[in-house]
Symmetry: D3
Subunit: 180 residues, 6 copies
Amino acid sequence: MRGFYIGRFQPYHNGHHQMVKEIATEVDELVLGIGSAGDSHSTRNPFTAGERIMMVAKSVVDFDITTYAVPIEDLERNSVWVSHVQSMSPAFDVAYSNNPLVIQLFKEAGVEVRQSPMFNRGVLQGTELRNRMMNGEEWRSLVPEPVVGVIDEIGGIERIQRVSDTDSDGRDSDGGPDPE
Amino acid sequence: MRGFYIGRFQPYHNGHHQMVKEIATEVDELVLGIGSAGDSHSTRNPFTAGERIMMVAKSVVDFDITTYAVPIEDLERNSVWVSHVQSMSPAFDVAYSNNPLVIQLFKEAGVEVRQSPMFNRGVLQGTELRNRMMNGEEWRSLVPEPVVGVIDEIGGIERIQRVSDTDSDGRDSDGGPDPE
Amino acid sequence: MRGFYIGRFQPYHNGHHQMVKEIATEVDELVLGIGSAGDSHSTRNPFTAGERIMMVAKSVVDFDITTYAVPIEDLERNSVWVSHVQSMSPAFDVAYSNNPLVIQLFKEAGVEVRQSPMFNRGVLQGTELRNRMMNGEEWRSLVPEPVVGVIDEIGGIERIQRVSDTDSDGRDSDGGPDPE
Amino acid sequence: MRGFYIGRFQPYHNGHHQMVKEIATEVDELVLGIGSAGDSHSTRNPFTAGERIMMVAKSVVDFDITTYAVPIEDLERNSVWVSHVQSMSPAFDVAYSNNPLVIQLFKEAGVEVRQSPMFNRGVLQGTELRNRMMNGEEWRSLVPEPVVGVIDEIGGIERIQRVSDTDSDGRDSDGGPDPE
Amino acid sequence: MRGFYIGRFQPYHNGHHQMVKEIATEVDELVLGIGSAGDSHSTRNPFTAGERIMMVAKSVVDFDITTYAVPIEDLERNSVWVSHVQSMSPAFDVAYSNNPLVIQLFKEAGVEVRQSPMFNRGVLQGTELRNRMMNGEEWRSLVPEPVVGVIDEIGGIERIQRVSDTDSDGRDSDGGPDPE
Amino acid sequence: MRGFYIGRFQPYHNGHHQMVKEIATEVDELVLGIGSAGDSHSTRNPFTAGERIMMVAKSVVDFDITTYAVPIEDLERNSVWVSHVQSMSPAFDVAYSNNPLVIQLFKEAGVEVRQSPMFNRGVLQGTELRNRMMNGEEWRSLVPEPVVGVIDEIGGIERIQRVSDTDSDGRDSDGGPDPE
């Protein structure tokens, strides 16, 4: 029995970690899909896929179940998204998500989806976390211990603060440098 | 004499249908270009190109002129858009549009464009229609009969309501699943 | 009952036409998927999607079944090809093909595929036809009447002869102009 | 000693020109990277890369240093942007920018970046300039003489006014025609 | 000390496995980059990225070092390949490769590369292995035990035999279905 | 009167240089389009666009006419190639080419094309030149003086010799690293 749980993990935090713990009681193996894998260095997506793999892998290393951290690049085409995910991931029996679009796409493709009100907490914490990082506020208590190490090692706080300067100018750093 | 009329047709509605009727008095054949053909499962673009082909083809079947429903994928590059359209469509003599960008691009390429104030009504009805679908309000009287059948058969209302849940979270489902 | 039959139709010829006739005895509606829709002006793919839509639509106009000519652009990714086709085409119940890769992909996706030894004749005739065009030999008797008209109108023979000059230099015109 | 200075140059104006003059005192050769080179015919990016090359090249022709105007297409992926720029541009020793994201990316790649408060003036003038063009106000005094000639020759004012009609409808013309 | 070793792993075989064993004596952690991750269902690339992750992960599970199996999609642009790899992979100190192009690209980017004549054996065995699979000959003794399980479970032999039928027709199944 | 002459310039050599001299007698300004601008580090395309801009710009600096060296990235779609070139290049009145595909595309778009038997010499010399470089034979006498400087400075001979090792293995380095 293998499960699939997708997130952008920008960064991987305690909300995600709690969900993985719950899912771990239902499956033998778990694939953690790292969404928008090609995006980085933006306010919304500060960390690279490689950095996020580190965060996830170091955090789940002591769990009893086997885990896979798999980057999933965006194809920008909802209609083939499920096939794309299925080709990039080890085969899975059930998907875990609270995202309505993800749920809809999996359901139309005949994949079982499980959701829970608890899963929403992660969504809220992601934006909150990045805002704290940008504003120089406390964020370390909201992520698993190994994530602190990864972010510090790569100078992640300095990075997100720099790129948020870009955004405050009214422009979106998700699409690559776009100087006036 | 062949005309070209492009729309996203999300969905094909009475405003579009009225325009096609008017154009039909001026041309022998009409190409209906289905724009943003690769987009689907979003608030703004709920239906796939295949579903929209069905809506259009079933609705125009009794017109006296020959019609072609041709999906046009976005190339994200205005400067080659006219060439792209011309390669995907049967050759046409005149384009019908009220969209200023479309008009500008065709004019720069030396293609005759015809417009009319009436054409604008379709724009307004498209957003209105999707809002009604999302809110569970009456929409069936605003589209040709065959469109109702297509949307019901694919579970279109449930789909647009689900993906609009995603959007209300402040995120855009046009670019593919992007879970927090 | 709707069927799907995909080909590059470079050009649409008597072999394709015979197949469509056979399929027409089994289905009520038939989608003709025009593969590699973005390719044109090469030895292997001389005609644009728009030109091929014309060839197909004019040729099948007198058949009793309803037909749809739908361009399918390449995504260069086998694993999502079936989903891509399904999003671009009106929904279909059965696919017709003799191409082993197409058969394999549809089967893995759980789509019924029907094949027949007869279908292979089209493959042979496509290459043969283009060779005849390039060499200035007789080709008109191998295609439906309306296809002759389309090719003559667009100067198709001159085009394929010109681009085959490029290829004889050892280069592939499929990927766009690539002058030394 | 060769410098690199990137801008979208929509259009190239006196703010840019002043910066180039200052940079010219520090380097022997200067590469002017024309960002978002594939974008055109939108409110934010009205002019094509070719038109912008003309503006830049005609304006800097009398400077003592050697200059290169090099279009840089967006790759939509911040993590490879520096490598992309380096492959498209003649090799450079120092980059000039006041854009925080550009600075961050060059720094992570170990490229020296120089900035100055003065450089910001260009940012402000770009938006202001396009607004004046859209509103039919005075803009000619804000750009070098040759830029006026380029814009007049291509009918640039009519173009930006037309495409801004599109945008006022709440839609973004950056991604190509997207008619309702 | 973390190493990076890239291969297409179509499939992961004893030659690869021997290399990983050797590299494991030199590093603490090893990233196994799964190249051409988007390709599958072709003679040269029969297996999906997800299937290859399974092969690799199941085979290296008993090694003493920490390993990461990371799919790397092709960007089709040599000049940004190193940056792409670096963004997708956990940070590494040394790359292992015997591929001259890979070596050249890493060297130009200032990344240490280690090679060994032994590494070549994998290259030879990959083609040989796939040929054996296509011809129905013995292949199970050339791959680690868990790889046999993965290939059997997905019907891998039937798949490669089917898609090689396509190729024998002179066409390349790497670029997606391309029926005549 | 402005002309457009496109080549891959891998590298820019005496054959190209002779052509530019001839064209210079017919036009006031000349755009040198650097084709396949995104390709590099392969046997067929060893040099980056930036390196080729340097070769061209340094070589034509003493000509009396104004020249522009403009990289043109491949769009892989013949039908929009002319529009793409026109958007990337300063406007031109006449195109110079001996490539049959290029001639065909410009003619279909209504652009004047001039050709001459002399122009072919460049084609032959390009392949010959790269073969000499790969084999360690004399090549310096076949290129303008500044090109020797550029190639030596970037270690171009070592690069092409390394990547040709890759190719001798039967694989194509044009599409990015693809290790077995």
